[in-house]
């Protein structure tokens, strides 16, 4: 393995932190979705790295499933975003607080 495992983990952690930061900070729904994607991908990266490290295919299988789920999720998520935009002419999360107690 050319790249040491530690580097890989640090990169994944950084990516996850960036994604989380994006989700927490941004108010644009699309940007939040992108943040979620980045977090998922950082997890995928760890899975691939672990797979290479232990010479087992399980991790790669998981990543394939993950990619399929992500695709589905993005499809639904974007559809919802479009729908919400139609409703309120905006995709600012602050507006969508109907679940307020």
């Amino acid at each position: 393995m050319i790249v040491p495992m530690e580097h890989l983990l640090i990169l994944a952690t950084l990516l996850f932190a960036l994604g989380l930061g994006c989700v927490l900070v941004r108010r644009n729904l699309i940007m939040i979705l992108i943040g979620v994607e980045i977090m998922i991908n950082s997890a995928g990266l760890v899975l691939v790295g672990a797979s290479a490290f232990w010479q087992q295919v399980d991790g790669q299988i998981m990543v394939l499933i993950l990619m399929a789920i992500t695709a589905a999720e993005v499809a639904i998520g974007l559809a919802l975003v479009v729908y919400l935009h139609q409703q309120k002419k905006s995709i600012d999360v602050g507006i969508f607080d109907e679940m307020r107690g």
Partner: protein
């Protein structure tokens, strides 16, 4: 024979129930026939079964009403001389009054209800008379209360009538409570509520217990018989139709208290304190009611107060220990008071439905016949010599005199005074109603024949019923005392004392008459004096009760419903509910619907958990 005895009770019950259920579906005169037939049938059955009652009487148990643990109450009849003479009077007078009522209520559209209630009343009254245990007696006791309620408020469209009925029900029920407690106590003591059983076992009791129970019974009797202090309902009860006043509030129901005390006499007589209390209640009521009668303006109210006063005499007799004197006066009074009420009904009709004696006058010209009938009744009531009222009242007073001690002599003195007052108000009534010219402006409404002819037998009975218990002085045999098996009630006074007593009675009667004649022979419009006002309102007892009982009751009611129910209980509940709501309102701030806030919470929660585990691992 048994069947006759059952029929006495069953006929009025059946009549009442049939009329109540189907009366309104029958063609008009049929319910009236049923009602009158039932009572007359009952009277005949009573006549037929009279022989059963002689001696120790006859006991008949129909079925068990209530049985639980060692408590048992039967539907059972006790037909002894006391019950028999009372039954005979009740059914007899009731028959005549039913016939009278058939005439009196001719134009009344709601006749069926009237006759159903009247029949049920007779049934309940007979239950009191014939019951062989106290619980069954209590059934009749409350039953007459209910029927009286329904009949006083018969013309319910006027709220005053309905209110008078309610007052009668509630005030008499206060008395019933005492009776009920006495019943419970007697059962707890003897394990039985049979009248014979109790009376047979009383001798072993402690005197204080007997006194307490007797006083309870006395209060019970006071309620039904309108004696002090539970008397205020009777005058208002005159709101009912006149036949009702005659039957219930003169001849039968108000004497139920006397009957009860006679029934329980073996128990009551054991306590001299209780006997004195009974005598006192009697004489106080007699005096009270006689004074009230002096100032009344409505013909029926005068009669109502006179009833109260006469029942007071009966109580006095019981308190003096003379059951036969009490029963004697009860019988004679039933005859002449029923007569008086029914003729008063005719007079009211003749005066054009006018109740007020100030607007009567000259009624003799309108109907001499009614005049003579009413006068017969009044003479009996006033105790004119040789009428029945004279003999029965005299027996009571003589019995008081015969006791000889200061207390009883005092009672005698008061009794004589009441007799004088009675004579006075009787003749006041007579002069105001009959003398002079008619002062009203209504046209007469002639009483029908059906209303008149039941009056003749009553008038004859009223004038001659003295024969029932004629004393030795008049060469009589005191038949009633003998029939009741109470020969000890027969007085043995010296001839001179007897003449003295009779002389006093006659003197008092004449005195009352003369005074009344002086004052009322010529009618003059008078402003009622302060005393008159006071007497007119029955010594303002109603106001006193209102102040002492009704208002506090209402006040507590308001306190309970507004203070406790709406204030305290609802307050606590609403407080708890509001507390929960407030807590929720505070917590809802946390869920503001912002996705980022939720995510932050998620992250911070995660950090906290991880931090906690790290801390645990490190420390």
């Amino acid at each position: 024979m048994d069947i006759l005895l059952i029929l006495i009770l069953l006929l009025p019950l059946a009549g009442g129930v049939i009329n109540a259920c189907f009366g309104s579906r029958m063609p008009q005169p049929v319910p009236v026939f049923i009602a009158c037939g039932a009572v007359i049938g009952s009277f005949l059955a009573c006549l037929g079964s009279l022989t059963l009652a002689a001696g120790d009487g006859y006991r008949l148990v129909l079925f068990t009403w209530l049985k639980s643990g060692n408590f048992q109450a039967d539907i059972g009849l006790l037909y002894d001389p006391l019950a028999a003479i009372m039954t005979l009077m009740v059914t007899g007078v009731a028959s005549l009054i039913h016939l009278y009522a058939a005439g009196y209520m001719e134009d009344e559209p709601d006749q069926v209800r009237f006759f159903a209630l009247l029949n049920l009343f007779v049934f309940a009254m007979l239950t009191i008379v014939l019951a062989d245990n106290l619980l069954l007696l209590f059934l009749g006791w409350e039953g007459v209360g209910f029927c009286s309620y329904g009949l006083i408020g018969f013309w319910y469209r006027k709220t005053e009538n309905a209110d008078a009925g309610r007052k009668a029900f509630i005030v008499t029920r206060i008395g019933d409570l005492f009776f009920a407690v006495a019943l419970l106590w007697l059962f707890a003591l003897f394990g039985t509520i049979s009248i014979e059983g109790i009376n047979a076992q009383v001798s072993g009791l402690e005197v204080t217990t007997v006194t307490m129970i007797s006083l309870l019974l006395l209060f019970g009797a006071c309620g039904k018989s309108a004696q002090v202090p539970l008397m205020s309902w009777l005058a208002d009860a005159m709101a009912g139709p006149t036949p009702v006043s005659a039957l219930i509030h003169a001849a039968t129901m108000v004497t139920a208290g006397v009957y009860l005390l006679c029934r329980m006499f073996p128990l009551v007589s054991l306590s001299s304190t209780a006997m004195a209390a009974i005598a006192l209640v009697g004489i106080v009521t007699a005096l009270y009611a006689a004074t009230c009668a002096l100032a009344q303006n409505e013909i029926k109210r005068v009669l109502a107060y006179s009833t109260m006063s006469q029942v007071g005499y009966m109580f006095l007799a019981v308190g003096l220990g003379s059951v036969s004197a009490a029963m004697f006066h009860l019988l004679t009074h039933a005859f002449f008071k029923a007569l008086l009420f029914m003729t008063a009904g005719c007079l009211i009709n003749l005066a054009g439905h006018e109740n007020d004696i100030r607007r009567m006058g000259g009624m003799r010209q309108r109907s001499p016949l009614v005049f003579w009938l009413f006068l017969a009744g009044l003479l009996c009531l006033a105790g004119a010599p040789l009428t029945s009222g004279f003999f029965s009242k005299d027996l009571i007073l003589a019995t008081a005199f015969a006791h000889g001690d200061p207390f009883h002599l005092g009672l005698y003195g008061l009794g004589v005074m009441v007799a004088g007052l009675t004579s006075f108000y009787c003749f006041r009534l007579a002069y105001l109603v009959f003398a002079g010219d008619f002062r009203g402006d209504e046209l007469p409404h002639e009483p029908s024949a059906l209303m008149l002819w039941p009056l003749y037998p009553l008038a004859i009975l009223g004038l001659t019923a003295g024969l029932l218990n004629l004393p030795h002085l008049f060469s009589g045999g005191s038949w009633l005392s003998g029939w009741l098996g109470r020969t000890q009630d027969v007085l043995h006074l010296s001839i001179s004392i007897e003449y003295l007593l009779i002389g006093t009675a006659i003197a008092v009667f004449v005195l009352g008459w003369l005074l009344a004649a002086l004052r009322y022979r010529k009618y003059s419009e008078r402003q009622p004096s302060l005393v008159g006002e006071f007497l007119l309102n029955g010594w303002r007892v109603d106001d006193l009760f209102d102040l002492l009982l009704v208002r506090p009751f209402k006040k507590i009611g308001r306190f309970c419903s507004q203070g406790v129910e709406a204030g305290l209980i609802e307050g606590v509940l609403n407080g708890a509910a509001r507390g929960c709501t407030d807590l929720g309102m505070r917590l809802r701030g946390l869920a503001d619907g912002k996705v980022s806030a939720y995510l932050q919470g998620l992250v911070w929660g995660f950090v906290l958990i991880v931090g906690w585990f790290l801390l645990r691992a490190l420390v």
